[in-house]
Amino acid sequence: MDQLSIIWQGLPSLLSGTLVTLNLTFYFLALGFILGIILALGRVYGPSYVKILIILPFERFFRAVPELVLLFLFYFGSSFFHINISAFIAAVLAMGFRSAAYQAQIFRGAILSIGEDQMKAARSLGMNTLQSIRFVILPQALRLSIPSWANEYAVVLKDSSLAYAVGVTELLRQGRYIVARTFGNALLVYTVCALIYFILVFAGNQVLKHLEEKYKIPGYEFKQRREQSVLERI
């Protein structure tokens, strides 16, 4: 079989793997987004015992332990605790929590760089904390987060390839199956996989750039603040 027809015949399974990859990415980001906002708000506005006992340890752990180890912990941990979840769900939890820890940092940085003046103005109009966050802080924080969020999208999409290790049939595993079926051609097949990832990263970044442009506040330039400690930055 020549190389072109290997790819041609393998294309349907590569595309179904791509769908799984996109699915994974979506769930990682969604879980990370929701949890990340909660963590960030908790860290900025919450009581200090919540910060010290829950949020910081959570963030530290999920930022310091490699993705692959997290994946194994959730995958093998579920059977250790006799909880029956699929490899897909284990991956979503592991990487979703990891992404939450990162997104929390993105949102927190954004909230802090908006500064207290905006909050003061909102409160002086008689808004309560929740209203101030909902109408004044978050709309600005989310806009400010788009560039870092684009980066997180690329990271999460690429890290979804790790789900391969626990047997989720995402793009890379579909590639592996084709290599096994056709006895070789690893260079070709994996290069095609890489190309698909590249297209996905590129396309996603274009969409996010478009969003950033669309939601840009005319005339306004945010000053991004920089974290001083390495742990808060990675």
């Binding site: 003046d117 905006q118 003061k120 103005a121 909102a122 409160r123 002086s124 109009l125 008689g126 808004m127 309560n128 209203q131 109408f135 004044v136 709309p139 600005q140 806009r143 506040i217 005319p218 005339g219 306004y220 330039e221």
Partner: protein, 252 residues
């Protein structure tokens, strides 16, 4: 005499070792303008943010008309919605247009229907001369224009009084006039105002009452005539002498 709108009694505030307010008492009557003066770092701005509890005071009591603001049972958000505040750095919501900046408090806090809120907002923006900038964003406006929007934002809430925290000190000199003009117009229309400012011309022309603060206490209080010409306190005399030299008695 008009009735008392704001009464502050024995207010204390410290940050750690630093005492910023050391027993402040004064009152403001309906329709009057009180100007608070004093050197930087003497607690004037803290005093203002204490009045609407944005900065919670350590001790002391504050009344707005007959409601005690400092009573923990008072709904502070309700009180704040009837005390306007204008900030030194404007604090306009950067992600909202001029119209939305003025309208947000009306729809979110006062739950006024959008049509009605829009009408009120446009009316107030008209008052400060910015009805043609409805769809601009704050960053597209000059400092003077931004400050006028923020006055309109405070006005729209139909406040019982407005607090001004050094409203002109972040502005380029040529933009100060347009903001002061709006404030003079407001005072003439009978709005009750408490203004922290270095604008002695404004104080002389508009204030019913001038309060001179230093080191967290009120050194002297009186009408402009007394304060500028018949002050008995050497500290007041010295301060007024220096500040007039520095800023001049800018005519309104």
């Amino acid at each position: 005499m008009p009735e008392v709108i704001l009464k502050v009694e024995n207010l204390y505030k410290s940050y750690g070792e630093l005492t910023v307010l050391n027993g402040i008492s004064f009152q403001v009557r309906q329709g009057e303008t009180t100007v608070i003066i004093g050197t930087s770092g003497t607690g004037k701005s803290t005093l203002l943010t204490c009045i609407n509890l944005i900065t919670p005071p350590d001790k002391g009591r504050i009344w707005l008309e007959e409601i005690e603001i400092t009573d923990p049972k008072t709904d502070i958000n309700l009180v704040r919605s009837s005390i306007g505040m204008v900030f030194q750095h404007f604090n306009l919501f950067t992600h909202l247009t001029v119209l939305d900046n003025v309208r947000l408090g009306l729809t979110v806090v006062k739950k006024i229907p959008k049509d009605r809120a829009t009408a009120i907002s446009i009316e107030k923006l008209n008052l400060v001369g910015l009805a043609d900038k409805l769809n601009s964003y704050p960053a597209q406006l000059s400092g003077g224009q931004q400050q006028r929007v923020s006055i309109a934002r405070a006005l729209a809430m139909d406040p019982k009084l407005i607090l001004f925290d050094e409203p002109t000190s972040a502005l380029d000199p040529e933009l100060i006039g347009e903001v002061l003009n709006v404030m003079v117009k407001l005072a003439e229309s009978g709005m009750t105002m408490v203004v922290v400012s270095h604008e002695m011309g404004f104080a002389r022309a508009v204030a019913n009452d001038i309060i001179f603060m230093e080191n967290g206490i009120i050194v002297e209080e009186g009408d402009p005539e007394t304060m500028f010409h018949h002050s008995r306190n050497p500290r007041t005399q010295e301060f007024l002498h220096k500040i007039t030299e520095l800023y001049g008695g800018r005519p309104k």
